[in-house]
């Protein structure tokens, strides 16, 4: 087992093509990451995410011979996951019953590193609102924000996952950050107005 854990993803792919039992180790390596990614991008509930994830792993297995070794296996697996989720996005959107976004401290930390301190402070204060903001943002911005700040992928990896040039990814991330702030400020103002109205009534 120790030996298997030391093997790279690419070595495991080669082993799986000889013996399908090795696929178990690849699934174990990626099931949590991809589960979290699907949840973040689709907002599906746990059971639905599990079903989607099963289909994605079967797809990955079927396409193992098409894995381009010039890419990182994780980028390739994320690409398949992304394509599957995005192509069924509308279908999934109708199935959402609970909006629960797994925004951990990392998201706040990562995005605030790239924004100014004042806004970062506001962000920390409004941690709970991040879920709602991400849910309101356009999917093309949401996916790059998730990949960059939650999945902590590099520009090259995001480029490989979304099949877009790195320059386009950089532009998308910049626009996404601005859009994120715009929605966040709108939400903030809305909350302030609501709070003031309540205070006046009281």
């Amino acid at each position: 087992m120790q030996d298997i854990n030391e093997k790279t993803d690419e070595e495991l792919v080669a082993l799986t093509l000889k013996n399908q039992d090795y696929f178990l180790y690849l699934v174990r390596r990626y099931e949590r990451k991809l589960f979290r990614y699907i949840s973040r991008i689709s907002n599906l509930n746990q059971d639905d995410v599990e079903d989607v994830l099963q289909d994605i792993f079967v797809k990955i297995y079927k396409n193992l011979n098409g894995f381009d070794t010039d890419l990182k296996f994780s980028s390739w697996a994320y690409r398949i996951t992304h394509n599957e989720v995005i192509s069924n996005y509308r279908k999934y959107k109708n199935k959402i019953d609970v909006i629960s976004f797994d925004t951990d401290g990392n998201f706040i930390k990562n995005i605030s590193d790239e924004l100014d301190i004042e806004k970062a402070f506001k962000l920390v204060e409004l941690k709970k609102e991040v879920d709602q903001v991400l849910d309101k943002i356009d999917i093309k911005y949401k996916e790059v924000l998730i990949l960059r700040f939650l999945e902590e992928k590099s520009y090259r990896e995001i480029s490989d996952i979304l099949r877009k040039p790195e320059g386009t990814i950089a532009t998308l991330i910049n626009r996404a950050k601005k859009e994120f702030l715009k929605i966040l400020e709108r939400e903030q103002n809305y909350m302030k107005r609501a709070y003031n109205s309540i205070v006046r009534v009281i």
Binding site: F23, L24, V27, E31, E50, Q54, N63, D70, S159
Partner: protein, 272 residues
């Protein structure tokens, strides 16, 4: 997360139960090769279109633009090779769509890909043109099409289908001495009297063969017969490659051609 722990086993069990196998490597190779081949083919067809566009533009009857259309601008508008330009545009798009589906193309910027495709098509088209492929493509392929398609492909032909204005185009049925029989693109037969200088006739004679398509400038001769035409200038439908032959034409049809045209136009005016 407990559920997830069992997910890996579930997936492996599903793969085994449903006897799912990885798709063969050759399928991926074939798919990738298909996109590359389709890309290369699209670029080659685009380049052929470029060579015909160059051939059309460089061998257009610029020297007769005023006589044919009244103004240079109108001549350009009428004779631009729209069919080939649309074909070129179409194949640039097809080439782009194919290259986009190859493994690494997404890493390049759209502008670089489209610019590259246009540049390759142009350079290859220029090579084809210099190798004389444009005129042979025209001869071997386009001229074999029924005449009604000719004008669609070669918009230059429109201006040559007005015998009443002194411009006639058609296929030689037979040729002897100073006369020939011609069938125009509408299927009408014309008796042509060649009113050429000896030097002009000697130059053009090798091109006057049965089934050869030619363009004539002159005037209708209704006194002689209803479908009679006197030609003061004969040109093949498509000049062989490049500028060279055009220069030869200019040498053989020097300044006095303008005099002839003016004379002919006065004749038409008198007839009118």
């Amino acid at each position: 997360m407990e559920k997830i722990n069992k997910l890996a086993e579930k997936i492996i069990s599903r793969i085994k139960t449903e006897e799912i196998k990885p798709t063969s490597r050759w399928r991926f190779v074939v798919k990738d090769s298909f996109f590359w081949l389709a890309f290369i083919l699209s670029v080659v067809i685009g380049a052929m279109a470029v060579s015909v566009i160059l051939n059309t533009l460089l061998n257009n009857d610029w020297d007769l633009s005023l006589q044919l259309s009244g103004s240079l601008f109108q001549f350009v508008v009428i004779t631009l090779p729209y069919f080939w330009l649309i074909l070129l545009g179409g194949f640039i798009i097809i080439a782009y769509l194919n290259i986009k589906h190859t493994k690494k193309a997404y890493r390049c910027d759209l502008k670089i890909i489209v610019g590259g495709v246009i540049l390759i098509s142009f350079l290859l088209g220029l090579t084809f043109y210099n190798l004389g492929l444009a005129s042979s493509l025209d001869k071997k392929f386009i001229q074999k099409l029924p005449p009604r398609f000719h004008q669609m492909i070669d918009s230059r032909l429109e201006v040559w289908q007005e015998p009443q204005r002194g411009f006639l185009i058609g296929e030689i049925q037979n040729f002897s001495g100073n006369s020939l029989e011609l069938r125009d693109f509408k299927g009408r037969f014309w008796q042509i009297a060649l009113e050429l200088e000896a030097e002009e006739l000697n130059f053009i004679e090798p091109l006057l063969r049965t089934n050869e398509k030619i363009r004539l400038m002159g005037s209708p001769n209704p006194e002689k017969c209803e479908q009679c035409f006197s030609a003061i200038m004969v040109r093949p439908l498509n000049l062989p490659k490049g500028d060279m032959i055009h220069e030869q034409f200019r040498e053989v049809f020097p300044q006095d051609l303008q005099g002839k045209i003016i004379k002919r136009e006065s004749i038409i005016k008198i007839q009118e």
